[in-house]
Amino acid sequence: MSKLKLIVQREFIAKVRNKSFLIMTFLSPILLVGMGAFVFFLMKKNDEKVKEIVYVDNSGLFSKDDFVDSETIHYQDYTALGVAETKKKVEEGDYYGALIIPKQNSLEILANAIEFYSKDSPGMSVMNSLEAKIERKLRNEKLNDFGIDLEKINASKIQSNVKMFNFSGEESSKLINGLKIGVGAIAGYLLMMFVMIYGTSVMRSVIEEKTSRIVEIIVSSVKPFQLMLGKIIGNASAGLLQFLIWGILIFIITTVASSIFGIDIIEMQTSKLPAEQLEAAKQAAGLDKMQLIIQEIVRLPILKMFVLFIFYFLGGFMLYSSMFAAIGAAVDNETDTQQFMLPIMAPLILGVYVGFATVINEPHGPMAVLFSYIPFTSPIVMLMRVPFGVSWYELAISMTLLLITFVFMVWLAAKIYRVGILMYGKKPTYRDLYKWLKYKG
């Protein structure tokens, strides 16, 4: 077996057997999905309870038609009972609240004189819905006062929905744009987290070899470059494995959870939209809208994104972890790494910031394009752009630059690594690192 393969194998096994790896791999998706399902379950339970709201209408303007029962809210007219009696009853009974509409001379005054009493503070969505109902009624009253025909007003209502196409003829929507932003942002952020977690893991592994003093024994059998590369590849494989397990686990858990709790995945995603907006969307496009969303999710370049994620993860990881390895080699213990960490962390974090700031507004704007070429930020920024469709030549430029840079960086880091692993005692400076670069062999 080749030496590199042996090293990769050892590093991989050492990493995968580690308790923290096991915990992170198996527990976090369960926690994540479990918590999500639990919250959703509670929300659903919460919504299922019908809210009883009573109203006392002393203005005489409102009727039962203005307060139509919905699935979750039932209205009752308690005008006959009077304000004081109603309040008492609501306070003692199992009611959500009481809406008190006083008699006023003008609609303007009335608009700000209506009160709502409840035992606990009412939910925002309930209040919004009540206010909308009152506003609609009062506006209609006012239009009536002006002598405007309500029928005509209603008939004149027009809703426009501009359909968006790209030149390959695919239809898209604002909703889909949001989805793309979400998918891209998650991919970019995940990549940054992976690079950081596994990069520091490479660094720790180098420091461990140094402090346990086994490194000189190893490099008497293999080239330092092989050792470094083996470490990087071993850790990257562990990272990919973890990513794969996460994917499978999340798929299984969501499937199981949705069948247990009866959660419809599609519903889960769309129910996040405010009810009114969803209704408007449904009205505008009928059921087509829902179909469009599902269509678009399916139509997202999932395979392409997956392949690119793997490529940019590996490329970005090679680039950064070689720097992490060089740092690990330069120092004697982890506390000494601080001074060298900033230059590594800064571009990673910059990538995420730039991604969030520019890609969301304009996925193909000059800033977004520039940072998706720069190899230190390209893995993150490009991944964020990919869901919006990136032309092949841009991808080619970005990927080529990343490849060239990571080869150069691995070569550079290996030079520091080679010298650093055998240096003990002195906390190195940047000047030392520069000197080491010039040592021969």
Binding site: I7, A14, E216, S220
Partner: protein
């Protein structure tokens, strides 16, 4: 005798610092070779070059008739001064890993490890982690992984500094056995007394230069001071000492004998021979003790280094 290792004109610089200056050393096959020198003289730099951990700026190294190349790592066993093992890795797995890095197949490595673990009576440790072992136990494992692949050349850098006396003795014996089997051994140390009885040849490195090399006996002869330890049974020691002083250089004794003899260190003059001294002594009394004081490696080391200042 053939040379197993020929080090020719090695120069190594670290930036402006010259670690090795034109060092040439030839190590005969089957010998125990002492690479001696003070701390920081360049011993470890040279050893790292032999192990191909670093490359020389110039010069060449020939191992067993071939220019040193990466395939030779399997022919060399190296126990560095700074040594250790993966703390959280199991003993057996670790030994297998290191053996495979030296080019052994897994099955062969297992077979040999079983032999050594049985020999050192440590088979029970196979599944333990290094961090669970005592330092002395880990040292045995360390030694085994150094010699397991049966290299032609074994290099021990300060071999006895990290080992406790019992392990040190065990390992000294094992090393001599390995030589019997044909291995060539390099000891690198600044503590002469620990290797003097084992070395056939030595080289002395000081301040990046080789200042001395050759067979230990030749070097000792070269550094001998022609001083004899003398023990004489005589009736009037004062008179004998006084007359000795007329012919020889007499120093007070730095040794003890069992009886009440006159004890002295006598240094021969330029024109005297050992026999002259001996016949002088026998004419004055009964010679109990007559030994030439040979310089030990430590004396040679100190003298040579001081001369190099």
């Amino acid at each position: 005798m053939n040379n197993l290792l020929e080090i020719n004109n090695i120069v190594k610089n670290y930036g402006a610092f010259k670690a090795l200056n034109d060092v040439s050393i030839h190590i005969p096959e089957g010998s125990v070779y002492g690479l001696l020198g003070p701390n920081g003289a360049g011993k470890t730099s040279l050893i790292r070059i032999i192990n191909q951990i670093t490359m020389p700026d110039s010069g060449s190294i020939i191992l067993d008739g071939e220019a040193l190349s990466p395939k030779h790592t399997a022919d060399i066993g190296y126990l560095p001064e700074e040594r250790g093992l993966y703390k959280s890795m199991k003993v057996g797995e670790q030994a297998l890993y290191l053996a495979q890095l030296k080019g052994l197949s897994k099955s062969e490595a297992k077979k040999r490890l079983k032999y050594w673990f049985d020999k050192f009576d440590i088979s029970a440790w196979w599944g333990k982690k290094i961090e669970e072992l005592s330092k002395g136990m880990a040292q045995k494992v360390q030694f085994i992984v150094t010699v397991l692949h049966e290299p032609k050349l074994l290099i021990f850098d300060e071999p006895f500094s990290g080992f406790d006396p019992i392990n040190a003795q065990l390992i000294a014996q094992e090393i001599l056995q390995l030589r019997e089997k044909g291995a060539t051994i390099i000891f690198s140390t600044h503590r002469m007394e620990s290797v003097e009885e084992m070395c056939d040849e030595i080289a002395l490195i000081d301040k990046s230069n080789k200042i001395l090399d050759g067979k230990l006996n030749d070097i000792k002869r070269q550094f001998r001071t022609h001083t004899f330890q003398v023990g004489l049974n005589t009736l009037n020691p004062k008179e004998v000492e006084a007359s000795l002083k007329q012919h020889f250089d007499v120093l007070p004794a730095d040794f003890k004998l069992l009886g009440n003899e006159l004890t002295l260190n006598v240094k021969l003059g330029k024109n005297n021979s050992a026999n002259e001294l001996l016949s002088f002594l026998t004419s004055r009394g009964e010679v109990q003790h007559f030994v030439e004081l040979m310089p030990n490696a430590n004396d040679i080391f100190i003298q040579a280094v001081n001369k190099n200042k």
